[in-house]
């Protein structure tokens, strides 16, 4: 008997009274304290990145050989790096690059991913072709792509963004295609077909809106992983140009002096970790709120 008890699908789901979801589920989930903490954290980092120039910090690119590898002081709160640049200023300005890469990659992966996913999921003939191309793209490692792009076009924000987004977007295509395939069998979609709804209306009205919730959640995870990828690529020297303050660059430069000045790595590392953690927590919370069925299972 025990196995049948354990495999019973959610006891609570059998109580019809529970099926109705309170409308404020999103608000309720977001107002739990760890999520609030993540929100506040992220807000602080975003605001700092936007207002970096107004904070009265030193120029993040200004080289000052006299001030090499200085410790904490009133002038340089977190000391200076090997070229005498202010570490705090570089880290705050670095947030700009990281957030732009994160948000940019999320948009660059979601938009074409949604379009191609809907087409592949709805039109059987297109499915075969699109999905095989996606399989091909997914087989390209992002680091290799980045090295090739940097070699051809030189290091820049756009190069990094493309290098991260290209291998990422086939995953979005797969997600959307799967959602569309299952939505197509829903009776309300069949009802719309028998009401004579034209294909484009069917997609825009009945299919696409019902893929958005999981898509937004996927977007937050892409956001977080793109920031990490940027750091890895910059660290390896195939990311942002070295003089540019990005968290990956700051960590890469600090590596040499880690023994004497651990702060050179720890401060940007801490920012990176906290930002990724906040974005991921927000993504988890949104998944729980938008899809309560998944929350119980994962």
């Amino acid at each position: 008997m025990s196995s049948s008890i354990h495999s019973m699908p959610g006891v609570a789901a059998s109580a019809p009274a529970l099926r109705r979801r309170p409308r404020s589920a999103l608000v309720r989930t977001l107002s739990s304290w760890p999520v609030m903490a993540a929100l506040v954290m992220l807000a602080v980092i975003v605001l700092a990145a936007i207002a970096a120039n107004l904070l009265g910090l030193a120029d993040p690119m200004a080289i000052n050989p006299m001030q090499r590898l200085k410790g904490f002081s009133a002038e340089h709160w977190f000391g200076t790096d090997a070229y005498g640049r202010d570490v705090l200023s570089r880290v705050v300005h670095g947030a700009r690059v990281s957030l732009m890469i994160g948000a940019g990659t999320a948009v660059a992966a979601l938009v074409p991913g949604l379009v191609l996913g809907v087409i592949a999921g709805y039109f059987r003939a297109a499915d075969m072709v699109i999905m095989r191309i996606m399989d091909g793209i997914m087989s390209v490692p992002s680091i290799l792509l980045a090295i090739a792009l940097v070699a051809v076009t030189g290091a820049s924000l756009l190069t990094v963004l493309i290098a991260i987004a290209v291998p990422e977007f086939p995953r979005v295509v797969r997600l959307v295609r799967g959602l569309i395939l299952s939505l197509r069998d829903e009776p309300y979609v069949e009802a719309a077909i028998s009401l004579g709804t034209p294909t484009h209306t069917l997609m825009m009205r009945h299919l696409v809106p019902n893929t958005l919730a999981p898509l937004i959640v996927q977007g937050t995870f892409i956001f977080a992983s793109a920031m990490l990828s940027e750091a890895v690529m910059s660290f390896l020297g195939v990311g942002m140009p070295p003089e540019f303050p990005s968290w990956g660059n700051v960590i890469a430069e600090g590596r040499m002096y880690f023994q004497i000045k651990p702060g050179l790595i720890l401060l940007p590392g801490l920012f990176l970790a906290l930002t990724v953690l906040s974005v991921n927590m927000l993504g988890d919370a949104m998944r729980d709120a938008l899809d309560p069925k998944m929350a119980r299972r994962i």
């Binding site: 008997m1 025990s2 049948s4 609570a12 529970l18 009776p187 069949e190 009802a191 028998s194 004579g196």
Partner: protein, 550 residues
């Protein structure tokens, strides 16, 4: 030793509350219910969805999700021991040895990656001191007693290799192998076809007799109740309406609610109605639908979902297509509505061939054939206001927004819903109300043919009766012909002029409803009729069925 006259299960004044967020008002899903079950007795708990019958059974098993539902008052005595006061360890012990449960969906109740033999053995490994050989012997004996063939092979089978009925037998075998005093069966036959249901019900009765088990049987189906109950408990909105012997409840119900519920159960006797003389609107001739199954290593195999089906539908006529799951009745409906393309044959609508029409040619015809689906919860897009859903079809065919909305309000009135429905979302409505909305949406295009694909199967009997009345009303008011697809002969008997019986994609019998239901010619139709539960009871008149006048 417990007194032999003491009930096996006593539920006393049980109240179960919904665990809300702090500060929220506490709501009871089950309130102050009491009943007893004695050894060898079957108590049927009946009620419509949301009546709290499943919550009651889960409370007895101690299976309430602690973060959602909480027993707030009362006692549940199993052999004199209060289940609500038991430790989790003791509950686990009780669940296997004293009480056990059979669920509705036999597929999800079994672990798909283990053989069924292993799963039954697990119960014995945990709760008995028998050695491996003795356990195996016991399991094979038990498999034989639930009337499974070739038990050695079944023992080594995985759940997906068995049929739904066989899986339910395995679950019953698992539940009864430790000889519990109480068996809780929660809608155990609802997911099964009628012919399988009949066998499973007979099996439960037989095992109950031989083991003297007390059975708590949860169901919404009065046919099943009339078949197996010793006593009946009627529940409504979390309260116990009435408890009594089978004859008390079915023949002499005291409460108005019970009377209403029992009399809504459709009878098997066909309603007297003359055959409509109208023109044929739909002529289906030799329709086929085949699916080709391809595999890398397997030879190509074709599956005939619908094979050589021909029938005629006249104006104002309701033709019932009856069959068990897999009979091809839904495929047939989808071919006619061109949601899928038929493989061969012809479908003529007022003389126009539509089976082979291209998409463009079919578009103007689409509005003349509309479908109402089974699941009212999935038939409406949850993100769109009800009004916009109803208007959608008319807008597609060029009706102005203003005119379409006016007509939508009119239609909602016809199906018994107010104009304020227009601006609300589907989740604000009950299943029956949603099905009305779906009917209004289908009628918006003034179709010649309405296809109702199991349109009332997911509804409670009282709501079912209302929706059937609505369909009948629409038929008489307009010239609409209805293709009524159902697995339920009772429903078909209520509403259909003629009935087509399908089996494995083919028509086995077709004719006037009265002829098919009272003088069936085909063996399979006879089996279906014979398997319909509760056929000896005339629920509407609260008495046993009289011998048919024919």
């Amino acid at each position: 030793m417990a007194d032999s006259t003491m009930p096996v299960l006593q539920v006393q004044n049980l109240t179960v509350q919904l665990v809300g967020a702090p500060g929220e008002e506490e709501r009871s899903v089950v309130e102050g219910i009491s009943f007893d079950i004695h050894a060898g007795e079957t108590l049927c708990v009946v009620g419509e969805s949301g009546s709290g019958k499943s919550v009651t059974s889960f409370s007895v098993m101690g299976l309430l999700a602690p973060d959602a539902l909480r027993p707030a008052a009362g006692r549940i005595l199993l052999d004199g021991e209060d289940v609500l006061a038991c430790s989790p360890e003791r509950l686990r012990e009780l669940r296997a040895t004293r009480m056990s449960m059979v669920f509705q969906e036999p597929m999800t109740a079994l672990n798909p990656v283990r053989t069924v033999g292993w799963q039954i053995d697990e119960v014995l490994r945990t709760h008995s001191a028998l050695d491996a050989a003795a356990r195996k012997r016991k399991i094979l004996d038990m498999l034989e007693s639930v009337r499974l063939p070739d038990v050695e092979r079944i023992y080594h089978s995985y759940p997906h290799q068995l049929s739904g009925g066989q899986r339910q037998r395995i679950v019953i075998c698992m539940a009864l192998i430790l000889n519990p005093k109480l068996l809780i069966a929660d809608e155990p036959t609802t997911a099964l076809d009628v012919t399988t249901q009949k066998q499973i019900l007979a099996l439960i009765l037989e095992l109950q007799r031989s083991h003297n088990t007390a059975v708590l049987f949860i169901t919404h189906d009065f046919g099943v109740v009339a078949e197996i109950a010793d006593r009946i408990a009627v529940m409504n909105r979390g309260r116990l309406v009435e408890v009594g012997s089978r004859e008390d409840i079915l023949a002499r119900p005291k409460e108005a609610y019970t009377r209403m519920l029992v009399s809504s159960v459709p009878g098997l006797a066909p309603q007297a109605r003359q055959a409509p003389e109208g023109e044929p609107v739909l002529v289906v001739d030799g329709l086929e639908k085949t699916y080709a199954e391809r595999g890398f290593f397997k030879a190509k195999r074709t599956v005939h979902a619908v094979r050589d089906v021909s029938f005629t539908l006249r104006k104002k006529e309701i033709v019932g297509i009856v069959g068990e799951s897999g009979s091809g009745k839904s495929t047939l409906a989808r071919c006619i509505a061109r949601l899928i393309d038929p493989s061969a044959g012809s479908v003529r609508l007022d003389g126009t061939e539509i089976a082979t029409a291209t998409k463009r040619e079919f578009h103007p015809v689409r509005k003349r054939i509309q479908v109402v689906f089974q699941d009212p919860y999935r038939s409406l897009n949850a993100r769109i206001r009800v009004g916009d859903s109803i208007v959608e079809g008319m807008r597609n065919f060029g009706v102005s927004e203003e005119e379409a909305r006016a007509r939508a309000v009119e239609l909602l009135d016809i199906v018994g819903l107010g104009a304020d429905t227009m601006d609300r979302y589907p989740h604000q409505f009950s299943g029956g109300q949603r099905q009305r909305i779906c009917i209004a949406r289908a009628l918006a295009l003034r179709p010649d043919i309405l296809i109702a694909d199991e349109a009332v199967s997911a509804l409670d009997v009282s709501v079912q009766a209302q929706v059937l009345e609505l369909i009948e009303d629409i038929r008489t008011r307009t010239d609409t012909a209805v293709l009524f697809i159902t697995h339920d002969l009772r429903v078909a008997a209520q509403i259909c002029n003629s009935i087509v019986v399908m089996k494995s994609g083919q028509i086995v019998e077709a004719g006037q409803a009265a002829d098919v239901l009272t003088r069936p010619q085909d063996e399979y139709t006879r089996q279906l009729l014979d398997a319909a539960p509760g056929r000896h009871w005339d629920f509407k008149r609260f008495r046993p069925t009289q011998a048919s006048p024919h």
